[in-house]
Symmetry: C2
DNA sequence: TTATTAATGAAAATGGTTTTCATTATCATA
DNA sequence: TATGATAATGAAAACCATTTTCATTAATAA
């Protein structure tokens, strides 16, 4: 019920009404570096905001994604994961451990990668008349811990 | 019940027993250029093999994927899609239309891409002690038809 | 303050996938 | 070729992330 609505101004125009659950969900995502599922977000907010519903979490995540404030990922483990996105935050991709599910953000070789991505996107636009809006790059393998334990 | 079991020899060692459903599913995937869902495979085989069960399709796809004969993709539309994979088949990535779901294979700039991927993988191995086994690149956007209609 | 109606949350529904379990079919062995 | 051990199958039920429904609540404009 409280809430200074820190995000209201930055979010104006995207939403008809700005509410407590929306504030809480967006705020949580801006504070964590993790890639959370809807259930994890729900569980985390339940302490602060006992009345919140999982349905609202799903609906809010959809809205936030559609307005470009967050990004949705499916790392192939059944549930979607979300992370905050903004212009300030540097463009990055993911390293996914196929054993434990750990996700590492990396942005190495961002320039070279961007160059290749741009070039490819331009080429694909010509060859297939396909307009590229976004791209996704991910590496799959084993994290350090999972290499150790066999 | 018939079936010359065309794939048995190439598949030896991966499976305890080679069966009609396994032959049929693998054969279908080698014959199509599409990225099929379990249900699509099931529907397609039902004509040829009326007794087949969707459960078996799911189980077989898991096995085929684990033995590296096919690849599993989640293009963010709820169901997984599968495609045949082999050394002969050139390495490629995907262009996904976010409106109609069409999937286009492309392998342009494969050399440059592979170079960057290798370099990045090596760097990530050093920096994060992460062993890269595979990678995935996809472009999202609008196909030609979907650009036209609106 | 009030009225409008967008947003919420509980419960039920949905849909892809997995599990269970009795039956069937494969294949090594005789 | 016949046989037995057991891997594989398929129908039904369970599972689980997500969506839909609908009565209630709360945000905002007037
Ligand atoms: Mn990330
Ligand atoms: Mn493909
Ligand atoms: Zn790991
Ligand atoms: Zn399209």
């Amino acid at each position: 019920m409280p809430g200074p609505y820190r995000w209201r101004k930055r979010v104006e125009g995207h939403f008809c009404r700005w509410t407590m659950p929306r504030e809480a969900i967006l705020d949580l995502l801006t504070r964590t570096s993790q890639h959370l599922t809807a259930k994890e977000i729900y569980a985390s907010l339940l302490q602060l905001y006992p009345g919140i519903g999982l349905t609202t979490v799903y609906r809010t995540l959809d809205l936030l994604e559609k307005s470009g404030l967050i990004k949705k990922f499916n790392f192939g483990r059944g549930e979607n994961r979300y992370e905050f996105a903004s212009e300030n935050k540097p463009h990055h991709h993911h390293l996914i451990c196929t054993k434990c599910g750990q996700i590492i953000d990396y942005s190495d070789f961002a320039n070279e990668e961007l160059e290749l991505v741009k070039k490819t996107a331009k080429h694909l636009a010509e060859k297939y008349k396909f307009i590229v809006h976004d791209h996704n790059i991910e590496f799959y393998g084993l994290c350090q811990q999972c290499q150790k334990r066999q």
